[in-house]
Amino acid sequence: MTSAPPPKGRPGDAHGPGRGAAERASSGHRLTDVVVPALDAIVEGSWIALVYVSLQLGPAHGAAVLGLLAFVVAAAVGVAWARWADGATRRGSPAWATWVLALVAGAAGWLADPAARAALASALAGGAAFADLEAAISANIAGWLLGLAVLRGATHGPGSLDDERIGAMLDRILLLAIPWALGLAFARDDRPAFVAAALVATLTFVGAALLAVGLARLESLGTEAGVDWRRNRAWVVIVGGVIVAILVVSVPAALLTGAPPGTLLDAMWAPFAAVAGLLGLVTAAVAAPILGGLEAVLRVLPTPGPTRSPVPIPPLDSGAGTVAAAQADPRVGLTIAILALVAISIAVVLLVARPAARRRRDRATGPGPAAPEERAIVLPRGLLHVPALRLRARRRSSPTTAAEAYLALLDDVADDAVLARRPNESPRAHARRIRSLGVLAPDEPGSARGAPTAVDHDPGADLALLVADWELARYAGRTLSAAEDRRGVSRWRRLRAIVGRGSRGRRRTAGDGTR
């Protein structure tokens, strides 16, 4: 027994039998599971890197030993930790563990500077402990921001609203002016270095944030709204185009303010370098065990013995009479073995990985939420007017048969609003209407008496016969004789002279009336 319970949950939660669509679609989001978190890490890492260089080169007057990549990697560690902990425990990452991780990262960032390490070692060894400790702390104090990167990255767990979070950061982009102002105010001699590093971090932040917020928003909509950015090339093109346009506009604008061109070039490459660095780290992590195994295999292989390398044959006239035995280079065999192993490895990887990748791709693009669609570009009527005229002009201007003569006559009157054949008008009805209008009267005032129109032929009859020819040829499938075709063309010439004169007159009258 039920009494129609209302749906519960917050707006946007999936409800009802259609939920299967979300589950199907989520199976194909592996790529997004990597791309959006990677962009999150780049965004978080880049703004913290900007703060780092502004503090380190500004008030601290030290050296900026940590680059953008270090902060991106630290943020990526935080993101990965949060997501892994959420998947493993289903309760999110424990706070204490995140803080420990951040503390370790902060310490690593602090001690990344050799001066800090040396001062710390000196303090631990005794002597002027306080002075050394103070020197160690002040050497790379902003290095602790690496821990902040981990903490910020850890906030991007799987349950977090990436689009809202990054969107809010983008809305506060003007806050980046604070580290910029700080760095410019305090970095005296290091100002060029600060500008170079800060520009790279700023552009990376902007590019990654713009892409991340759009991607995350579209992804959050994708499951229930039928939008899949992997299939939505138009969206990808628009987003990419706008980001490139923003960078293309803003970088030269910054150039006008005095930024060195080399720095700007570096800045343009920085996002790609950051992504390449992340990919390199992942590749290294994957390749290390493979290379280790390869090395072990090579050790097991029998080492090729020393071979004799070929000795140039002395000229016959030298009188030596002996040919030296050829000796091979020992590295050749090893090289061949390595190449063979690499080829085998690649073949194995291809054989194993390709079907799996295809299956994954099929799953991703398979029966997802995409509904069948029809897309068409519907231009306004004004834009379609000119092509229509062009199409009509393609028809032959000089007919050779009676049927062509009738079509040519239709072309001749097409621009005349009165005489043109209407869409719902049969040829016979059209001819009847024209005759009823009186424009084909043989004794029309002002008609050219020299023309062979009104003297021997009735134009109304000409039109009726031309229509009859057309009906015979078009609808009855009859082949008209050459004589009939000739007569049809003659009728067209006579009618053309009359309707052309009439149309010009009507246009003149209409023009007068509009003035």
């Binding site: 027994m1 209302p6 259609g18 910029w180 923003i246 910054a254």
Partner: protein, 410 residues
Amino acid sequence: MSGPTVAAIALVAAGFLLGAPGLGLVAIVALLVHGLGRLTARIGLRGVTYERRLGRDRMVWGDEIPLDLVVHNDKLLPLPLLVAEEIVSQGVVVRDRDALVSERPGWLAVRNAWTLAWYERVVRHLWLVGDRRGRFVLGPTRITVADVFGRDAATIRLEREQAYVVRPRTVPVLERAPARAPLGHRRAPAGIFEEPTLFAGVRPYRPGDPPRRIHWRATARVGVPTSKRFESPRSREALIALDVQTVAGPYWRRDVDEERLEELAVAAASLARSFLRDGVSTGLAAAAHTGRRERIAWISPRTGPAQLALIADALGRMGPAPSAPFEHLLASVPRRVPPGTAIVVLTSRDPGPWSATLRRASAAGYDIRLVILGGGAGPVSRPARRAGIAVAVATLEPDWRTADALAVVG
């Protein structure tokens, strides 16, 4: 001009004056991003048309009807993201789409999103699934245009609503004891009483037809002996009085056994189809709201192909809770139909409280038939039998979704 814009312009100026490229860069990027959002907000919805096309406004349970969503961006500015959120009533199921919890209490939301190029028109084909009986509403619609970074830029609300009805399914009626005619009298193929002024058509000649009954012109035309048919002077009428209350107790408690209510709807539709197929003028009466002002759903007895659609529509629109006591409905029936009408009372509960009403109607000349739905209706039907009311028990086995017949035992 908004605060962020002013701040960004000030920063651009400061960057130029101080020779600080970073300040200028940050401000220019902020201006561009902000400006793009403003531009989309200002003209994003210009020239955008959205249309919802329902293939039909009725379907039978388990069926599907096409739903086309047409969206057109009639301007030069492409739209990176256009989201249409349809607010729909509970029970609307769109194939391959999740129904989300809406901000409007008790309603759901179905979202669709598109990326539209300049002057692009997209027709998305969806299907509405008749997952449950009822009247369902689509709309209003909230159209949101987002800028290229997915941030909501402009929103408009379209108030146009559309409704569709999911009718109950019908199954054949199997009468286990046809000799007793538990569902009332069938219309005889050739009535004893025929009104010769009510010509009803022709039929093939049968041996025994008098010569004056032969339709000579039709015989000449078709080449075989053909006889005339005439309407009966008084055709049979049946009214299905449906008791939508499924749980014992006062009707205003509004407790509903939804499965039993669906069974009742399927049984009523099946009986109506069976009657109409046999040529019986059939009507429907139920104390339930059907989306109209009247508290009683009333379809007068008629024949014809449209009558089944009318009855099925009323059953489809029928709400889950009774709108009045069933006794009141039964008491009002004699005022609406003439004596001699067969009143088939379809219920799933003990008829005790209104058996006196049935007896009075029977005494007034109505042909009362009580059909109790449910396998365990034996004990319930005994008091009615003792009161002299013809009782039949109907079952849908194994359930109303998969049953292939309505078994009626009288």
